[in-house]
């Protein structure tokens, strides 16, 4: 692994950007739809909507560990959404999603910044240990999934599917 990569693994801040061939208004609305959050973060956490713009997150760690928190999402402007965790979060975090028109006919550029503040100020290295996934991957994959959902109405999946293991099926 290169130095650059291991540095990235140490980051508690994660940033990713993606371009989606849709107007910002559509993407803004899709992001706020209750089922969207549970679908785009599924590689990382179970997200359940519990109230108007509040959601309960349960991230799984290795060896059966579980981390819980609740978030409140705000629409700051037509081009910006943000969330932050409420009190008593196992891993406090906040995120900001900014949208800008992409050049030509390419739609909208999305920039997502997420910052994790683990208890006791553990550095980012611990984040990837806690969740078994590096923060950068958490956000890049979420944006990939969001784009798929925005463009096609679905997210690519391969489970369940036939395989010569686990009794014949991948779950």
């Amino acid at each position: 692994m290169s130095d650059v990569e291991s540095d990235a693994n140490l980051e508690a801040d994660a940033h990713a950007s993606i371009t989606i061939g849709k107007p910002a208004a559509d993407l803004h609305a899709l992001w706020l739809r209750p089922e969207t959050q549970s679908r785009i973060w599924a590689h990382f956490a179970d997200v359940r909507v519990v109230g108007d713009r509040t959601a309960e997150w349960v991230a799984k760690g290795p060896a059966g560990g579980e981390y819980r928190w609740q978030t409140l999402t705000k629409a700051n402007s037509p081009n910006e959404l943000s969330w932050s965790t409420l009190d008593k979060a196992d891993v406090a975090n906040q995120g900001v999603l900014t949208m800008r028109p992409a050049p030509g006919d390419r739609g909208t550029e999305l920039y997502l910044d997420v910052r994790f503040d683990p208890p006791g100020g553990i550095v980012g290295k611990a984040i990837s240990k806690m969740f078994h996934i590096v923060p950068r991957e958490i956000v890049r994959t979420a944006l990939y999934r969001f784009r798929a959902l925005a463009l096609t109405g679905e997210i690519a999946r391969t489970d369940p599917q036939p395989a010569g293991r686990n009794g014949g099926t991948d779950h």
């Binding site: 371009t19 590689h43 463009l151 679905e154 391969t158 036939p162 395989a163 010569g164």
Partner: protein
Amino acid sequence: MRALCWNGVNDLRVETVSDPEIINPSDVILKVRLSTTCGSDLHLIDGLIPTMREGDVLGHEFMGEIVDVGREVTKVKRGDRVVVPSFISCGKCWYCQHDLYSLCDTTHPKPELQEPLLGYPTAGIYAYSHAFGGYSGAHAEYVRVPFADTDCFLVPDGVADDAALFISDAAPTGFMGADFCNIHQGDVIAVWGCGGVGLMAQQGAMILGAERVIAIDKYPERLAQAEAFGAIPLDFTKVDVIEALQELTGGRGPDACIDAVGMEADGTGVQKVYDGVKQALHLETDRGAALRQAMLAVRKGGTLSILGVYGVMDKFPLGLIMNKGITVRTAQQHGQAYVDRLLEYTQRGELTPAALATHRFSLEDSPKGYHMFKHKEDGCLRSVFVP
């Protein structure tokens, strides 16, 4: 159902696995009528492509009948006889809309596995390792096909199953390779490899108006098939390929060279020993004998069209490309851009993909079929499996 599973290097077994089911609303389930071997599978079987998992169902070149449809599917229906390209494409993203289907932006279920290798994830593909999506393959009784409205192509009457089959992968790949050559009147095209892909590239180049097509390989029966298609055969073990190509082009060199060989290329002499040792020591997983030869042979300012699959090549003579002003075109096949057209050529008898179907096996005998295909026994060009 029964399916052919990869269990490690050179370890293929037919096993009982669960039936596929509809997962997403644009999916269909296909009852496989025919599936076939591809040179790309050899990279998996030889262990040259990482991120395979024991138990993965193989097979990415297939056709069949739709037996179940998801609720968003509108263009195809139960009972349709269809052929499906090997890359899974949504039809809605920027790449699909620019005919770059194998680069689709939405069909990779595990983008995090591939993005570190390539910078960005490609489309998912059936049965081609988890870095390429981990989709279950088609050497099985049934297979799930996502984005059916974009990826299922109705096979017209008059195109038999064993012709339609190759319009899944070998034919669009070869045809795309010829298309990359931007063929003009008088152009001479040389094709390295007379496997399914190379032969389809040769027929494609003729359809697109090449003056002359030269076919390079060492297997007599494959060279004979190339000749039957109208190409000039060259056995690279018997002639000096570079000299022969100059001889056939008045010293100009071919206007475009197509590599339909890939990383299992056979070399001759010192290069072969060197590449073999490196491969055995895992120093590099590529043996680029054919590709190097094509770069040397192509005329100045010509086109190099690369269809063969390569890994990470640490010795690549870039200076040849630069100093000769060569245009390089390459891609995994953008099948969806070509299938309708290829079905028409086939209906009119201009393209004859069924010629690739030299050997037929039941699905139960598919490991034997792969063995014959890999070792080119008994003139085997492609093994076709009937579930």
